[in-house]
């Protein structure tokens, strides 16, 4: 399935028609929102939770403020730990670096921990095409999605949209699993299937949840043990991280992880937390012989130069915004055409893929602010979406935005002209009234052609009253209001009070 954000409208229209999926996702989101809310009570009352989020936001502010220095500090400490640090300017360069490592270490089989950045750079596809190496996703949901050949539906629940029958059929088709609808049996079968791959993989590839500058360590969280396998059994471990994943020290990192897991799966902490401090040492029996970290920019430093766009790098990838987003919950992940669905994608995709290609991402938004209200990293979603819309209007070469079309611009110019000239405004209303009311029946219009037609796909529109509010005001409402007010004020008690005053 080759999805692109340009196809948002057509994919969204198909997905939204799948009301069974929509209802299911809304229901699951309700459960997760409840779990996350409950997990957040560990910080205390509402005000204490706000404070915990504010501290998270401050940590991200500090990390971003000192990003170049923190990355250099991380690099020097990681190198001291025996980790080799590589830098990639874009997706292509990052993929090629991994390919070089595959060849250098004569890798035949790769196992992976679920990594969003590897999806972002299209690593699986690139490696399979360029090297012929076999790649196995280690996270169950991601493994199912990999077999199905689709994008993950949610960053932490990649297969959350599939029911057990669909999952059973996919696994039956792709890995010869005997068909069963028993979830336990499915898990056992996949575990057995993957165990063998984990044991003989030459290379493990993961993302990074937080990189610690002061010690040169990597922290990864997970629930299934696949990351533990992938980072300790193969000869080579390659960790991919985007530039914003670094923070100053452990205290900062663990506060962020506490917020991450609580807002992601509603857990106080995940089943596994791996803190990696380098490859196997001489006196150790476990761990990879070689360990690499690839630090990927992929368009981020261009955003970093702008004080507002830089804010888009706050995200810690918990996904809480998604389960609050009325749009994402109804259309799912596929219309976003990339691996970051929902508000998370609306924030980052325009900066990396360009404003023109991603126009529907930042426009298919009611600006309800649900995402911003729950974000534990202080992301100013609404300011960013407003900025993208404004950049689209004026055009922005740095971020792939051509100017807005003349038709839309003219429409808003006319509207503004009307706003400045009450007489013009009044005649505009008159024309609209005549047009709409001529087409209405029993007080409502049920259909109009032209630019407003979308409204009528599910809604009616009330007739415009013959007298405007202004007319009513002039013709008696003003007088009536004055009389009503004076009746109230003229009460003896009020008079007595005001005399005293």
């Amino acid at each position: 399935m080759n999805l692109r954000p340009e196809d948002f409208q057509s994919v969204a229209e198909t997905e939204v028609a799948n009301t069974a999926q929509g209802d299911f996702v809304v229901m699951v989101a309700g459960v997760f929102n409840y779990l996350c809310d409950t997990a957040m009570t560990a910080y205390g009352e509402q005000s204490a939770q706000e404070e915990a989020r504010a501290i998270g936001a401050q940590i991200r502010t500090n990390s971003l403020h000192n990003l170049p220095e923190l990355l250099e500090e991380f690099e020097s400490n990681a190198v001291r730990n025996g980790i080799q640090v590589l830098w990639a300017a874009d997706a292509d360069e990052a993929c090629k670096l991994v390919k070089d490592l595959v060849e250098k270490h004569q890798v035949k089989t790769i196992t992976k921990g679920k990594s969003m950045i590897s999806e972002e750079i299209g690593l699986n596809h690139f490696l399979e095409k360029e090297t012929g190496v076999k790649i196995y996703e280690g996270d169950l949901g991601e493994f199912i999605v990999q077999q199905r050949g689709t994008l993950p539906f949610h960053i932490v629940g990649p297969a959350i949209n599939l029911n057990v029958q669909e999952i059973a059929s996919i696994l039956q088709e792709h890995i010869d699993m005997p068909y069963t609808e028993d979830a336990q049996e499915i898990v056992s079968y996949v575990r057995g299937y993957l165990r063998d791959k984990f044991e003989r993989a030459d290379m493990g590839i993961t993302g990074v949840n937080q990189a610690i500058a002061s010690t040169g360590s990597l922290i990864l969280v997970e629930n299934e043990g696949n990351i533990r396998w992938v980072t300790s059994a193969p000869r080579v471990h390659v960790a991919l991280m985007s530039i914003e994943k670094v923070c100053a020290n452990y205290a900062d990192a663990f506060h962020l992880l506490g917020l991450l897991t609580r807002n992601c799966t509603g857990q106080a902490i995940t089943s596994y937390v791996s803190v990696l401090n380098g490859p196997r040492r001489n006196d150790e029996t476990d761990g990879p012989e070689a360990m690499y970290v690839i630090i990927i920019d992929n368009g981020r430093s261009a955003a970093y130069k702008d004080p507002l766009l830089k804010e888009a790098l706050r995200c810690i990838r918990c996904g809480r915004c998604g389960i609050q987003c009325p749009i994402y919950l109804r259309i799912g992940a596929y219309p976003y055409g990339w691996n970051y669905p929902g508000p998370m994608g609306n924030v980052i995709a325009p900066l990396i893929m360009g404003l023109d290609r991603t126009r529907d991402l930042y426009e298919a938004c009611t600006l309800c602010g649900g995402c911003q209200a729950v974000c534990p990293a202080g992301m100013p979603h609404l300011d960013l979406f407003a900025r993208y819309r404004q950049m689209k209007v004026t055009g922005n070469k740095d971020f792939g935005g051509s100017r807005v079309c003349i038709k839309e611009r003219t429409g808003f110019k006319l509207l503004t002209w009307g706003m400045q000239n009450p007489a013009l405004y009044k005649s505009g209303v008159k024309i609209a009234r005549r047009y709409i009311n001529k087409r209405s029946q029993d007080g409502y219009v049920t259909k109009l052609s032209g630019p407003m037609s979308g409204w009528f796909s599910c809604r009616d529109f009330p007739q415009i009253p013959e007298k405007s509010f202004r007319q009513l005001w002039q013709e008696g409402l003003q007088k009536e209001a004055a009389e009503l007010a004076s009746l109230s004020n003229a009460s003896p008690q009020a008079a007595a009070q005001s005399e005293e005053g």
């Binding site: 929509g22 309800c368 649900g370 509207l415 009616d460 009330p462 009513l472 005001s498």
Partner: protein, 254 residues
């Protein structure tokens, strides 16, 4: 007498209350404007209405045409800035003036200051009644169950939640019942509803589903955008069911 005392105090506080109406919608829903006037007048407020007011420019800001929005905003500020208190039955207009205007003039300090000063005196109706005037009971009557939809701009952009619910709880004969996902968007979003009608439909369908499941007789909300959207959907799919603006319910015009 508490009530009369309050009224007197009120007239000390503010001699004249200016009404700010969301023009594009008030054109359609004149009844919301009338209800707001009757409610405030009945409570003893002296009202004025600037007949030259048009639109605050919210749709222009939302669409990203900030240069045009500035023109509308300058005119708007000039019209209203002499008023002591400005009240609007539209949370999204209040949010535009209070939150967006100062940002719009980030590079024009003089206009920014004027915008900020105006923003401090613009109130959403329920916020004005409860927080400024100290009125929690407007002596309204309704026999039945009410559900309350928490409009995005009122709940999240302005942080107003308790005030409208307090006013509803104190309506004589009425019972405010809980509604699932009352805080979720109704799917209006201005241009969004026309540009992405199928997504908008899926969202408003769920909003109405939750309203019906609440078994309330009436859905109440405080933002004309949501009102237009939900009313239009109800009229098409559930013609017997009603949604009203808070002002209409409090004014007793239902």
């Amino acid at each position: 007498m508490g009530r009369a005392g309050m009224l007197a105090k009120r007239s000390d506080l503010m001699s004249k209350v200016s009404c700010l109406y969301p023009v594009p919608l008030i054109v359609v829903m004149v009844s919301v404007g009338e209800a707001t006037v009757r409610l405030l007048a009945r409570l003893g407020f002296d009202l004025q209405y600037h007949e030259e007011q048009t639109c605050c420019g919210q749709p222009t800001i939302t669409a990203g045409h900030l240069d045009l929005a500035k023109k509308a905003a300058r005119r708007f500020i000039s019209i209203f800035e002499q008023d002591e208190v400005i009240v609007s039955p539209s949370g999204s207009c209040v949010s535009t003036i209070r939150n967006e205007y100062p940002r719009l003039f980030a590079d024009e300090p003089q206009w920014q200051e004027r915008a900020q000063e105006l923003g401090q005196r613009v109130y959403e109706l329920s916020e004005f009644l409860v927080d400024v005037a100290g009125i929690k009971d407007v002596d309204a009557h309704y026999n039945g169950k009410l559900a309350y939809h928490k409009s995005c701009h009122i709940l999240r952009a302005l942080g107003i939640d308790r005030q409208p619910q307090t006013l509803l709880e104190n309506i004589h004969g009425a019972e405010l019942v809980p509604m699932q996902l009352a805080h979720e968007c109704c799917g209006f979003g201005g241009q969004f509803s026309v540009k992405y009608p199928y997504i908008s439909e899926a969202i408003v369908r769920d909003k109405v589903k939750n309203f019906l499941a609440s078994e309330a007789d009436l859905l109440v909300l405080s933002d004309p955008g949501c009102l237009l959207n939900i009313r239009g959907y109800l009229h098409r799919h559930h013609p017997g069911r009603q949604v009203k603006h808070l002002a209409e319910v409090l004014a007793g015009s239902i």
